[in-house]
Structure formats: structure tokens, C-alpha cells
Symmetry: C2
Subunit: 716 residues, 2 copies
């Protein structure tokens, strides 16, 4: 890839960024778009009065950038919870790393690489016609003493990243504990989920659980809530909700639309009456179904068991309860509104097998995804493309077109394919047996991350048949050498990828294209009620892997192609502003994991460090500087030992809270007069919302009666 | 190797077995050998009266064989504890497996192999001149339909072994629970060991621990015992003990020996006086040291903390205590007399690093041990030996000599080298930071086992340079094929190994050569007191790997060379009788782990199954029966899934006891009037024996005073 192609790409994408920023600055001021751009504020403060049109609304303003940049961490914690703070720390962590690496890379490595002459001397006269490879390590000649510069850089950056990782892990652990100590009593702190409950014949699950916990935890046991098979009921509620929406929509329409010609003879039918009748039917079904589900025969062998103290719940969670460890399996309860009700598979073996099936499915998906990746790979290789599709030859000779094709298209197509992956991974995680949305998100996040790493790193790097790639991993000793050959060759592709995919997708994120389109399309049919309006929560499973991927890319490539660093810095600055903003205005947390996903970040950073070191080993071997390649060997060992230490030192605090903290919190509550009230609520906190009495009033006149608001609360 | 060589080996070893059995049958009846052959009975019933000589004592009898065979499991449990029962179950497990495999192997596989003609037709006329290879799978021709016989055998034996493993795991788990429920209250059930105790400046470890547990476990905390740095004191006690022995020995001698000429002028010195003075000096040192050690400055940051109930101790063990998981690290306390006092390294990092160092040392030892193994390997290859040592040529042409050299010597030398390994591994485990003898033994057992597997299996199979071997493991996809080539070629070596090493060493175990020699050598200097006499405990770290190794060998080779099976059956029968006997008469348990080492057995059996399946895959590929090799693939996957299930289903019960069981036991004790007395004892149960007041009386007349017996008790 030539410098000119990169410049084209930078031009296009900077233009797009500015366009998105300008459009956003204008569109966000239009009241009709409030629901898309500031749903959170809308939710908190209610709909502002419909202001009259004025010119200011059309002039782009930058106040929001300043506000987003200045938002303090304390404010973020207060408004969006610890998860948001930890999420933002991924970005600030990356910014710190790439500022440090950037200084080394641009002021030391880049000049050193340019001064090399392995490929050719740099042509300062016609800068834009130089190949990007001139700026990479490939340009240093074999055995050159200048190779010690990247060697020292590798050591320095490893040390800096490890130091920062330690500091962050420590900081976030402390924040987690502080957060726990400062929050009010929460149902999930007092509750565990018990699964695989053995039931003796003749007794119900409820009796069995009650007997067990009264027997073995008499002093701390408070109450229990058995899970029921409610999937049928849930689908009925969904139907009812849909019908109810249609009805309210119809009532706000003109009279004409309320009638429709149906049947052979085209009788006029009052649609409101029709839908009302249908709704009544569904409601009747719901009533019948609810009374059936509440029976003991529909009990699932799982129950939420609440305790009088946090410590009591923790003890029951940590101890193996029964002599058969596959029975009375305990896990920490999620927040009540974090519970994922549809999937409560009952037996231990069933859950275990479904896990295995999902793992296999993930591996298959990851491998099969190679096909689109390979096609994309072909695009960067113009000659090959011309061989495949000869008719393109004439078009591809136009410089601009070829620059767009090599510099922009591949990463865009890849990005589009990658958009499909997160929903698939969420689906796979959801059938894996997790019982909370947050666990599903965390697991999907992990899956997407490793999927991306495998496909973007290894698959595009070792392009070739699937079998060839698998065989590489069966030959682990050759990996560094092969990486050393293949990776630098791909550097320019990844530089372009950061600019195109990174910049554009992040700033288009700000623009919220899909919600905006939906909102625009819906508008004509919209009734005045704001019942459709929902505050979205940040899609961690999608955004964390993306941000991590760029961090990973930067660490791996910083000494190979230091040119990537300024582009990454711009990317993370963009991400910093946009996420702090898409938190102030758009996203609201639905549940709080208190930064439980940080270990994923930590692990992937360690992975990228080791990958970088492996590549460094390969490169130094290829460049015939064997002393350097030998001296790199201790680095991955030390890095892995550091990781192992962090795992022992910090990870346990991300699984459960220590006794010290639990007891301290319990003691504080002992004299709290509000606890009686809290316990009362706790008893019903984990009731399946499908089992709560809901009634969609069949009388359309009373649509805004309190009953409905009750319904709304339950349905959200 | 020819059949005749095998027959020679069988002859020699059967002869040796009979000899050992006969010698044992006679020697055990001599009262002078009681301490070697029946120390346990001696300990229990006291020394029998010196009977007059009679002829019966010289006639070998076989009553003991019958007694050993008939000993019921209940009796064994009563007399030797659960560990002995589980140990015996390894042997009965192997017997069952090889009976099953033996029937298939001898009646199906052996005839099938003989009927093959890949190598050459079997020569029935001169049976002893056939190569052993005729009886192996190598004799089946490529693509032969007869290869389906070993294929089916592999499936059958895998299923049988898995079934048996499941059954045994379940049985032993149940036994463990029963054992726990039936034992009296034990100090270790109520105690945990706390390490890495943070101490604020100005306070002692004792104060720190007391404050912490009174704060967070006020209702269950009972007492604590801080560990002190007592290594200097321990060595002083050792010296004193030695001196005391010399003194008692001297007093039983004649008057002449009590004096010695010392100094330039050859003054006569009363040695008794001399030693007495020395002993007094040491005792004075001990007193000073003991008072110093008892100070808070000599406290180690570790303490045994006892609780009022088993459940209380378990809760403190299972919960992470502090926000820093590397502080207040808890582990289950060992039995008081199982505690390994010398090594209480203090900080978390120090222990963690020493663990890493030991692992590295183990790997180095395992690899360097290859050198003697390779030399032994040379012995089976006579031609090579003749090239190395040409002067042996004439001797080696004698048939009998060559048969001894190829059939007997290699395994004997190997066996001798292997004898050094267990003590080294025990040493390595002891500096790894374990604080109980049983943990050290268990860890050493693991190390010896993997050491043996690596060296005997892989190193002798893939004979070649170290680098070549390592490279094989970096090429995992080729392992089955390489195993398929190399393993059958080694089959005859292993058949010989079972006969020579297995038979002889097991029956010589019965003979207790080393203790017997020691006893015979000491006799002339022995005084009448029986203070030297100790009941040995079974060396699990040495005997479990040996037995497991033969089990492993049998499973791996059964379908390759079914001829190994009858010899293995004989071996396990021998082991069965001898260990049941070396339990009745010799070994007494020093501590009880309640069968905690069974998971090692389980894992190694799973390993051997997977190894066997990998070899089967390799063989079927080589023999060009690709359908069979494809159909073998699901087998290791299923086996590993089975293992994973067992790990979830049974393993947790081998780490700690479940809440259910603990609470049941605690409730039973609630009304036990003996508990007050037990709690009193519990407070001092974990006092370092070095810190107990010991006095070696300086007055030689009172050597048999109660003080001494007290000393003895402490020293043992």
C-alpha cells in the first residue's frame, strides 16, 4: 500500500468523521430526535416543551464535546454506575499506553525505520509514492544495530503496560469494594440461586428447599422463591403486549382506519372491537395459564433462596452443600431485573452438555467465518482480484478507485460481517445456561473477543486453507517464526483498518444510524403516547471487544509499524468523547456488575503482550540478530508470571466479596430501621414477572388508568 | 527378543520369587527378625517371650498367605485406616481390569495375532525360537480384517475401565463420608491453618490473629496457636537425641570401652562423664533457645486457628477472608502429628516462587534422567553394545549370557536408578511449601508418577536426543503416528520388564532387604532397650506410582501385546498378597488422609486410556485400516468428557467435606459430655513439639524415669 492510498483513506474518513460530528451537532437539537440522541435526559427530566423553531437549532455547536470531555469520574459513577467507569477506564488505559508507546514510536522507531535501506531508501521528494513498508521494521537491514531500538522499545512498553495493568486492577478492585460498602442493601447481596434440587417423591420443590435450608441454615435462612416453567405464559404476555399496542395506536388514528373490509362480502368490521375481543381472549388464556404455572407440577428444580444477612448468603454460596456436588448447586443471584427468565434448564448434566454444544458451535462458527475473511483478504491484493474478475481490470487502473478498493473497502466489508457476530454470540451464550443478562453479555463479550482475535489476527495473517491454519497451531514451535514473516507484511492493512473501521464506525456510533432510521420510519405511525420509548443500555458484548481489539492491535504492531500509533491515538480520543457523551445522554445502566468484566480486559492485554513478544522473537530471528531474539525469551515468561500473580492477587475479588467486607456491611445494617421493610420486599424480589397479576384493561377508555402503569412497570 | 529369552527371564524371576517367599516363611519365625517382619504386631502386643528353639521354626509355612488373602476390607479399615483400604483397591481394581482384558487378550487377541503373517508364520515346532513380535499386533498384515478384533477390544476395555472407575470413585467417596461420620472428633476437623497474616507495627502475630477472628468469627472462634521459628531448636533436639542414644549405648557396654585415651599425654577420660557433660551443655542451649523462640519476635506469620465446630472451621476455610486474597490465606489443618514443622515459609510470594522453582527443578531432573535410561536402552540392543564394548563380544555370544543381558539386566538397572527418584521428589516437595507430611507424600507421588511415565514411556519409546523428544511434543499432531510406530516395537521390552522388575521387586519388598540388612548389621552393637524400634508407615509416594505404572502399562499394551496380560495378573496377585500381609504385620498408618490420593489413580488411568486410544489410532492408520482409525476418534473425546464429569461429580468431596455432613456431625457432638475435654486438648494440639519442655535427664541413673518416656513420645 502506498502512502497516497493511506492519505486517501485518511481523507475520506476524516471527512466522514467531521460530517457525522456536524450532523450530530445539528440533529441533536431537533426535538423530534430527542428520543434518539438524549433518551436518558428525556427519561430523567421528562419531555421538554415543544420549543418554537429558531435558527440556533441549525448551527452546529461544540458545547457537548467540552461537557463530555470534562465529565469527572465521580459524576460518571453517580449517574451511570461502576460499569460505566470501568468501561471508560479501558479507553483511558489505552490512551495512556499509546501516548507512551506513541512517543517512543514516532520519535525513535519511525526515524530509525525510515533510515533503514533493506527495502529501498525513502523518497522524500515524492513522499506520497512511498510504500508504507518503508515506515515498518521490514525496512531495517538484517543484523543491523538499529534493531536494538525496537528491542528496547519492546522491553519498555511491556514494563509500562504491566505496571499500568497492575495499577488498574488494584484501582478497580478497590473501587468494587468501595462501591459495595457504599450501596444500599440490594436483594442480590442477600440471595443465592440454588439449582439441581433433588426432590423426593411426594414432595414439591418448595418443600424440599425449605426443609433443607431450615435444617442446615436455620439461623440465617429467610425465604425462598421457586422458579416456575413460564415460557408459555411469557409468550402470551408478549402477544397481549403487541395487541395492546396495536389497540392504543388504532385509537389515536382517524375514524376511517378503524374499520376494515373483511370476509367475502366485505363487511365493515370495527377493528377496535375486534382487537379488544382478541385481547380479552388472550387475557383469559393468561389467567388460566398463570393458575396452571403456579402449581407445584410446573416447578423447575431451581429456587432463589434469600438470607437474613449478606454473610449468610455468601456462606451458603461458598460451601458445597450436599455430598453429591452436582446437587444443590449454588451460585450468586443476579440483580432481580438482571435475571434471564426464559432459560432455566433443570438438571446438572443438561446444562453441562449444552455448554459443550455451545463451545463446539462457537469453534465451528469461528472457523467457518474464514470464508468472508479470505474474500476480503483478496481485495487488498489487487493483482489477484484482477485475475479473478478480469472485467474489473480497466476500472482498477484508475488510481483513485484502486486506492479506495485497497484502502477502504476491505475493512468496511469486514466490519459489516463482524456486525453479525455479536448477536449470534449473545444467542449462543443465552442457550448456554446462564441465568442473567449480565452473565450472557460477559460470556458473549469473551466469545466475540476471541472470535475477532482469531479471525482478524490469525486468519488474515496466515491466509490459506483452514487446514493449513489448524496445522500451524499443531506446530506451536514454528508460530513465532511464521508470525515474524506474516505479521509485518500485514501492517499496512491494519493501519488502514484503524483509520477506516475505527474512526468511521466510532463516530457513526455517535450518530446512532439504526435507531435514527427506525425513529424516522416510525414517526408517521406514531401515536402521542411515549410508550415505545426505551433508554438503551450500553452493548458491552459488542463495544468492549471492539475497543479491546484496537488496543490489542496497537500493542502488537507498535514496534513493527509505529505509524499505526497516531491513528490509534485519534481513535481513542474519538472513543473517549463519544462514549462519555453516548453515557451522559443515551445509555443508562440496566444492571450493575461492578466492573466484573475487567478481567477480560486484563487477560486480552496480557495475550497481546505475549503475542507481541512472540513476533519480536520471530522478527529478530529472521533479521539475524540472534542475541536479541534470545534476550526476548525471558519477557513472555515474566509476563505470564506477572499475570499469574495478578490472578491470585485480584481475581478472587471479582468472583465474590470477602468475609471482612460482608460482615462489616451486615453490622452497619443491624441497627438500620429500614431493614424490616427491605426484608419484606426481599421475599418477593425474585418473583417471575410473568407470574405477577397483569391486566390489560379491556375497556379502552381506561387505558391510562393506574393498572396500565403497573403493567408498564412489569413489562419493562 | 525371542521366546526363549522371555522364558529364561520368567524362570529366573519365578525362582527368585519362590526363594524370597521361602526365605520369608522361615525368617519371619525367628524372634530376632520380629522387628523387621512383624514390627506392627510387636508394637501392639509387646515382645513375645523368648521361645526355645524348635524345628518348626525352620520349616517354611504358608499360613500367612492364607491369612493375607482372607483379610476382609472391614478388618483392614479397622486396623489400618481408609488409606490402606483405598491403596488395596488400586490393586483389586487392576486385578479386575486385567482379568477382563486378560480373557479378551488371551482367548481372542493372542490367537488372532498368531494367525497373522505380516512378520512371519509362527513356528510351532520350535516355539522357543519365535520372536515375541509374533504375538503382537505387528504380526497382523496391513488392511487385514482381523484388525477389527483389537478395534473392538479397545472399545470394550475402555467402556469396562470407565465403568469401573466410576464405580470405584463413587464407592470411595461414600467411604470417605462414612469414615468422617464414624470417627471421633479430631483436632484437624476443627482447625484451619492461616498464613500470610498481616501484622500492624507494634502488635504481635498472636494479637493480630486474635483480633481478626474475634472480630469476624466471634461465635465460632475457639483458640489459636502461632507458629514459631524453631529450626535451630529442632537441630539442637536432634543433637541431644543423638548424644542421649550414645550415652545409653555406652552404659550397656563393658567398662573398658567407657574410657578412651585422649590428648597429647593420653590421659584416660571417663566417656560417660564426657557425654553427660556435653548433653548438659546442649540442654542448657535448648533451654535458652526455647525461651528465645517463644518470644513474639520469633513468630512466623502463620497460625493454627481452632473453632468450636467443624462447620465454623469449614466456613472460615471456604471464605476469602480479606480484601487482599494473598493475606489471611486459609487452608485445612493437617493432623497434629502430620504437620511438617521445618518449612513454614512466611510470605505468599515466597511460597509462590519456591513452587515455581521446584516445578522447574522437576522438569530438569526428568529430562536429565534420560541419560541412564538411554544407556539401559542400549543393553536391549546387543549389537550396539558390542560396538561400544568390543571385549564383551566373546561373552555375549553365549546364549544364556545374552539372554540374561537382554532380558534381565536392563530392567534391573533401570529399577535401581528409579529407586533414587522417590527420595529426590520427596525432598523437592518438602521445600515447595507444604506443611504436612501427607501433602508432601501426595505431591511427591504425583511427581514420581509423571516422572516414570515420561521416562519409561516416552523416553524409552522415542529413544533419541533430548531435543528430538521435545520436538515431538511441539508437534502434537504427529504423536499418534509416532507412537504407533515406536510403541509396538518396545512391547517385548515391557513384557520382560513386568516379569523382572515387577515380580522380583514386589516379592523382595516382602523380604524387606534393606531393613533386614540394617537390623543384622546393628545387632552386635544393640543394647537391650528397644528404643530404636519404629513401626514404618507405607511409603505411598513410592509404592503408588509403581503399582499405577504397571496398571498403566497393562492398559496401554493390552491390545498391542496381549502376552503381557498373564504376567501382569501374576504381578497383581503377588502385590495383593504381599501388601495385605506388609499391612497386617509391618506397616501402620501414621496419619490418615481418608483416601485423598484416589484422584491421582483416577487421572493416571484416564491418561493411560487416552494414550492407548492414541496408539490405536496410530496403529490403525499405519495398518491402512482408515475406517477403524476414524472410528477410534470419538473414543478419547468421550473418555475425556467422562473424566470431566467425574471431576465435577466426585472431586469436590476429596478437597473438603460438604456442609450437610459437617453440620450432622456437629449436631451429634452437641450433647456429648466428652466435648469439654476435647476442646481443652484442642487448644494445645498444634503446639510445635520442639517448644514442649523436654529434659534429657543428666543423671544417668534415672534414664528410665517417666521423663524419658515423655521425651520419647515427643520425639517420635
Amino acid at each position: 500500500m502506498l502512502v497516497s492510498a493511506l492519505l486517501t483513506s485518511v481523507g475520506i474518513n476524516s471527512g466522514l468523521c467531521v460530517l457525522f460530528f456536524t450532523l450530530y451537532s445539528i440533529l441533536r437539537k431537533q426535538p423530534s430526535n430527542y428520543e434518539v440522541y438524549i433518551p436518558r435526559l428525556l427519561d430523567a427530566e421528562g419531555k421538554p416543551k415543544r420549543s418554537t423553531f429558531n435558527l440556533v437549532r441549525l448551527i452546529p455547536s461544540t458545547g457537548w464535546v467540552k461537557r463530555a470531555w470534562k465529565l469527572s469520574e465521580e459524576d460518571l459513577l453517580l449517574t451511570s454506575g461502576l460499569d460505566a467507569v470501568v468501561f471508560m477506564r479501558i479507553i483511558t488505559f489505552s490512551l495512556k499506553v499509546f501516548l507512551f508507546a506513541g512517543v517512543i514510536g514516532i520519535f525513535v522507531l519511525l526515524p530509525v525505520n525510515c533510515s533503514g535501506d533493506q527495502l529501498y531508501d525513502i523518497d522524500f521528494a515524492d513522499l506520497s509514492n512511498n510504500s508504507l513498508d518503508v515506515f515498518t521494521i521490514s525496512n531495517l537491514s538484517n543484523g543491523s544495530k538499529r534493531l536494538w531500538a525496537p528491542f528496547i522499545a519492546v522491553y519498555l512498553v511491556t514494563a509500562f503496560v504491566c505496571f499500568l495493568l497492575y495499577y488498574e486492577y488494584k484501582f478497580i478492585t478497590a473501587k468494587r469494594i468501595d462501591f459495595f460498602l457504599s450501596t444500599k442493601p440490594q436483594p442480590q447481596q442477600f440471595t443465592i440461586l440454588v439449582r439441581s434440587i433433588p426432590v423426593s417423591s411426594g414432595s414439591s420443590v418448595r418443600e424440599s428447599v425449605e426443609k433443607f435450608f431450615l435444617e442446615y441454615h436455620p439461623s440465617t435462612y429467610l425465604s425462598l422463591m421457586v422458579v416456575h416453567r413460564s415460557s408459555k405464559l411469557q409468550s402470551l404476555i408478549k402477544d397481549a403486549k403487541k395487541m395492546y399496542k396495536r389497540l392504543t395506536h388504532l385509537q389515536s388514528e382517524s375514524n376511517q382506519q378503524k374499520y376494515r373490509h373483511v370476509g367475502l362480502f366485505g363487511q365493515k368490521v370495527d377493528l377496535v372491537d375486534h382487537y379488544e375481543k382478541k385481547l380479552e381472549d388472550i387475557e383469559e388464556n393468561m389467567r388460566v395459564e398463570r393458575s396452571e404455572v403456579s402449581l407445584a407440577t410446573e416447578e423447575v428444580r431451581a429456587a432463589f433462596v434469600s438470607f437474613k444477612s449478606r454473610y449468610g448468603a455468601a456462606v451458603a454460596f461458598h460451601m458445597q452443600q450436599s455430598t453429591n456436588p452436582t446437587e444443590w448447586v449454588t451460585e450468586l443471584a443476579p440483580e432481580p431485573n438482571d435475571v434471564y427468565w426464559p432459560f432455566f434448564s433443570s438438571t446438572f448434566i443438561k446444562r453441562w452438555l449444552s455448554k459443550i454444544v455451545v463451545v463446539v458451535a462457537c469453534i465451528l462458527l469461528t472457523i467457518l467465518f474464514l470464508i468472508p475473511v479470505l474474500i476480503v483478504q483478496g481485495l487488498t491484493n489487487l493483482n489477484q482480484l484482477e485475475v479473478w474478475l478480469p472485467f474489473l481490470k480497466s476500472i482498477l487502473t484508475i488510481t483513485f478507485v484502486s486506492q479506495v478498493v485497497t484502502g477502504y473497502l476491505p475493512s468496511l466489508i469486514l466490519q459489516m460481517f463482524l456486525k453479525i457476530v455479536p448477536p449470534i454470540m449473545v444467542f449462543l451464550s443465552s442457550i448456554q445456561g446462564y441465568i442473567s443478562h449480565s452473565q450472557i453479555q460477559k460470556s458473549a463479550c469473551d466469545k466475540v473477543l476471541w472470535f475477532t482475535i482469531w479471525n482478524i489476527f490469525f486468519a488474515t495473517v496466515f491466509s490459506g486453507s483452514i487446514l493449513y491454519q489448524v496445522s500451524i497451531f499443531l506446530d506451536p514451535k514454528d508460530i513465532p517464526a511464521k508470525l515474524g514473516v506474516a505479521v509485518p507484511a500485514q501492517a499496512s492493512f491494519f493501519i488502514a483498518y484503524v483509520v477506516t473501521s475505527g474512526w468511521t464506525s466510532t463516530s457513526s456510533e455517535l450518530f446512532r444510524i439504526i435507531p435514527l432510521t427506525c425513529s424516522l420510519m416510525k414517526k408517521p405511525f406514531r401515536c402521542c403516547s411515549d410508550e415505545e420509548f426505551q433508554v438503551p443500555s450500553i452493548p458491552y458484548h459488542q463495544d468492549i471487544p471492539r475497543i479491546l481489539f484496537f488496543g490489542l492491535l496497537g500493542i502488537t504492531y507498535f514496534f513493527l509499524a509505529p505509524l499505526i500509533l497516531p491513528f490509534l491515538l485519534v481513535y481513542f480520543c474519538l472513543a473517549y468523547i463519544i462514549y462519555r457523551n453516548q453515557f451522559i445522554n443515551v445509555y443508562a445502566p440496566k444492571y450493575e456488575t461492578a466492573g466484573k468484566f475487567w478481567p477480560i480486559v486484563h487477560n486480552s492485554m496480557i495475550f497481546s503482550l505475549v503475542l507481541m513478544q512472540a513476533i519480536a522473537f520471530g522478527i529478530f530471528t529472521l533479521k539475524k540478530l540472534s542475541i536479541a531474539s534470545t534476550l526476548v525469551v525471558p519477557l513472555p515468561i515474566l509476563t505470564l508470571l506477572f499475570n499469574e500473580y495478578c490472578r491470585k492477587r485480584f481475581l478472587p475479588n471479582f468472583t465474590a466479596y470477602p468475609a471482612e467486607v460482608l460482615i462489616k456491611r451486615d453490622r452497619e445494617d443491624q441497627h438500620d430501621p429500614n431493614m424490616a421493610e427491605f426484608y419484606e420486599k426481599l421475599v418477593t424480589a425474585y418473583k417471575d414477572p410473568a407470574l405477577l397479576p397483569i391486566q390489560f384493561s379491556s375497556n379502552t377508555d381506561s387505558l391510562s388508568s393506574p393498572l396500565i402503569s403497573d403493567t408498564q412497570e412489569v413489562l419493562h
